[in-house]
Subunit: 174 residues, 2 copies
C-alpha cells in the first residue's frame, strides 16, 4: 500500500468535481460522486465523513441534500485533504534503537537517547519537505489544470448527468 | 507500516557504526553489527546483501571477513540507503480513475488520460522534495552529529567489543 492512500486520490477527484460545479448545479451526494467516477460508493461515503469532520466540505440538508466545498478551492490545499483522509501518518517510525547498544549493557546512558535521533531528524526533514509541497498546491490549481485539458462540453455534461440523477431521485420519492 | 521501513533504520545505524570505526578495527560481520545493536541478525544479514548489491558496502574475504563501507561516508547519502533497502517505492499509486467518468460511457476520450494526472503530478513533486532532502544528508553528516553526542570513551568501547567478538571467533575456530 502506498503511503498516500487511494482514499486521498478518490477524495481529491471528488473535491475537484465539486470545485468545478457551477453555483446552480445540484449538490451531489457522495454516492453521485462515486458513481460518476466509477469508484466504490461506500468508501466514498466514509471519505466524505472525514472531509466533513475536517471542515473541507459541508453537507446540505433536505431532499436535494448533497455536498459542497466548505471554502473556496483556493483555500483548500492538497495537504488539507491528505491530512483529513490519512491523518498524521509519519513517513518513518523511529524505534529508538540507539539505546540498545551492547556496550551499554542494561543501563544505556542518558546521552544515547538525548534529543531526536539524527537518523529520525533527517526523515522528519524529508517529511516536512513533502508536506510543504502538498501544501503549496490547492484544489484551485488542480482544477485549473484539469479544466485546461477538457473540452468546453465536459463541464455541462457532468452537470447534465447530476441533473438527471437528481430528477430521478425526486421522481422516485414523489 | 511506515513508508520508510525499519530496514532502512537498521541499515543506517549499521552503516554509521562502520563509518565510525578506525581503520585498524576488525571489520564486523552482519551478525556482529546486529548483536552490537540488539536488532535481529537474520534481518540485518539480508539488509547487507542489499547494501552490497547496491555498492554501498564491500564484504572482506577470509576468517576476519566482515563488512566495510564501499566508499567514503561523505559519498553515501541517506537516499542511497533508502533506495538500496526499500527500492523504488512510490509515495502514491495513481489508479488513473480520471478515465472512468460516467459521462464518457464505455469510450473515454483521449484527452481524459492525456499526460500525467494533475493529482499524480503533485504527489510526484512531493516525492521529489522528500528524496531531495534524503539526498542532501550523508552518512558523514549523521556520523558527525552522533559523535558530537557521545563521550570520547564510546568509540573505543565499540572497538573493544568488536575485538573481543573477533578474538572469540578465532579461538572458536583454532
Amino acid at each position: 500500500m502506498s503511503h498516500i492512500s487511494t482514499g486521498v486520490e478518490y477524495a481529491l477527484h471528488c473535491l475537484l468535481l465539486l470545485a468545478d460545479l457551477p453555483p446552480d448545479a445540484p449538490e451531489p451526494s457522495a454516492r453521485d460522486l462515486a458513481e460518476l467516477q466509477g469508484i466504490p460508493a461506500e468508501y466514498v461515503a466514509k471519505l466524505f465523513t472525514k472531509l466533513n469532520k475536517a471542515g473541507l466540505v459541508i453537507a446540505a440538508e433536505g431532499v436535494k441534500g448533497g455536498f459542497a466545498l466548505a471554502r473556496k478551492p483556493e483555500r483548500i490545499s492538497v495537504r488539507d485533504v491528505v491530512d483529513a483522509v490519512d491523518g498524521a501518518k509519519p513517513l518513518f517510525d523511529c524505534r529508538e534503537i540507539r539505546s540498545r547498544c551492547a556496550v551499554f549493557g542494561d543501563s544505556p546512558p542518558a546521552w544515547a537517547s538525548k534529543g531526536v535521533c539524527s537518523i529520525h531528524a533527517v526523515m522528519q526533514a524529508a517529511e516536512k519537505a513533502m508536506r510543504a509541497t502538498l501544501e503549496a498546491h490547492t484544489l484551485a490549481d488542480l482544477a485549473a489544470r484539469t479544466a485546461a485539458k477538457a473540452p468546453a462540453s465536459f463541464a455541462p455534461a457532468v452537470v447534465h448527468w447530476l441533473d438527471q440523477r437528481s430528477a430521478g431521485r425526486r421522481a422516485g420519492r414523489g
